[in-house]
Symmetry: C2
Amino acid sequence: MSNGGKSLSNKRVAILIEEGFDSFELTGTITALRNADIVVTLIGPTLKSTPKDKLGTTTATSELAAGKASMKDFDALVILGGHASERMRLRHAMVDLVKDAMVATKPIGAISHGPQLLISANVIRGRTLTCWPSIAIDIKNAGGLYVDKPVAQDSNLITSRKASDIPSFTEALLRALEQSTTDQNQP
Amino acid sequence: MSNGGKSLSNKRVAILIEEGFDSFELTGTITALRNADIVVTLIGPTLKSTPKDKLGTTTATSELAAGKASMKDFDALVILGGHASERMRLRHAMVDLVKDAMVATKPIGAISHGPQLLISANVIRGRTLTCWPSIAIDIKNAGGLYVDKPVAQDSNLITSRKASDIPSFTEALLRALEQSTTDQNQP
């Protein structure tokens, strides 16, 4: 369904960051979203936290603390992989943001190990997902239906396997945001 | 039960290694086992593979390829954590070694993220385990009973949470090896 050429410039997307993120995933996602005039906000464990990427060479800076963030202020949530999602699982405020996005049926994008946070939020039972292959069994044990493809979309859940899937991943995410714009404009 | 002062010098323990291992866990475990005169063999994805530890500063060298290893040649198996177990899950030969050790009821020690490999081998249903807290939910989803303590022992399964649990972990492992010696000497 087309959005009739509507701009996505009124949209806000939250990206969760933590120590050990994959910098290709972060950069690729931010670039695609900003190219569509979307406002991107990096959410960390605290305000101005500065996690390093998994290679220890790049640093990101969070603009908002997870505990102060509300999904009411965002149209979609993105969970990056690398070693970051492993740490996000232990952050209750981050797990709660995932639960809130699910309840509001807002698009949630999770890539590589990102779906670990979906497991911790207990939101994947009966849902079709993809992920980095090492956690496929954890997805299945949590009740998810694992598929191996560049992007899997099941309602508001958009998942990908790895950094090289970023083009498919961001395309699906943008389409979901366009769709939500169209839905909002329905009579 | 005491082993009556029997030596453990006839015992052989296999330690699985892969890229991203925790060097404190590796060094601590090797030291404790060698102090008890146990022969330690490092098993990697290939012979003479040289994985780096998770900080990228230490390298270990494998003495045997997982595909060439047989649990018949070892009295116990150790699975280290860090980011290594995440990679081991994708090595069928390593998953098979875990299954073989379970069938033979030989002691299996797994620390921090090491229990991820136990999940992949599908051997924890109804068993009590501990692990690094971020994967506790994966343990529960796989049918395991998660406890938070320095060492959990359930029959041949010995698990610990983190590098600082190594003294409790190796003590339980040595006790299990002594026990198996005693059992072998039963009439």
